[in-house]
């Protein structure tokens, strides 16, 4: 299979997933999109294995490796710092003396909201990865031009 054929299949799968996502919202059945998402990704991986003109060489692997390492180095610090704060807010550690406990400042964010922020941080990790990937691709000569 040619690279362009793979991109076409990938686009079709993405469109199908988008439609299923909308249909899943209409029917109010989250398992539908969850199962469809897993099936879609498996299909993409299977299609990618059939591509003959897509070379993934050592430089590509190095770019991927460096971008992944840097993403994790930044992400775990931000995520853990926020999570520690969230746990402290949720646990409501009693303060002494009793007057101090009664005068306790209100919770900044409800626990459900903190969960949403954690989910948002996880989604932002993808953008962080893309940013680092572009940086390392540039560093290892991906956007270099030549006379040929």
């Amino acid at each position: 299979m040619k690279k362009n054929t793979f991109y076409l299949i990938f686009g079709c799968i993405a469109l199908a997933l988008l439609s299923i996502f909308w249909y899943s919202i209409e029917l109010h059945t989250p398992p539908l999109i969850e199962i469809a998402f897993v099936v879609g990704i498996v299909l993409v991986y299977l299609a990618k294995r059939k591509v003959t003109d897509l070379i993934h060489d050592e430089r590509d692997m190095k770019i991927t490796e460096q971008a992944t390492i840097r993403t994790m180095q930044v992400f775990w610090v931000v995520f853990c710092a926020f999570s520690i704060g969230a746990v402290m807010e949720i646990l409501h550690i009693p303060e002494f003396p009793r007057e101090a406990f009664l005068m306790r400042s209100p919770v900044l964010l409800p626990p459900r909201m903190m969960g949403y922020i954690q989910l948002a941080l996880l989604c932002l990790m993808i953008f962080l990865y893309v940013g680092f990937r572009i940086y390392y691709a540039k560093k290892y000569g991906d956007f270099e031009t030549d006379e040929e």
């Binding site: 060489d57 190095k62 460096q66 290892y140 000569g141 030549d146 040929e148």
Partner: protein
Amino acid sequence: MKNKIKVFRAMHDLTQEHLAQSIGVNRQTILAIEKEKYIPSLDLAFKISRYFKVNIEEVFIFDEKTPTIMDS
């Protein structure tokens, strides 16, 4: 790590695309090595020098000032 891939390519009248296909990498990788943006692995360096039927030292010149993987 300096290299003479461009010179050897010119001597053998080879394009980057042809060399890349022969040793199983992308053309962009050959370009990045030529421009000294990427230091190839020992495996790839040997493949390139074997392709030109010369010793590795004839194609690649070790430069102590070049940052290594550990510096990046």
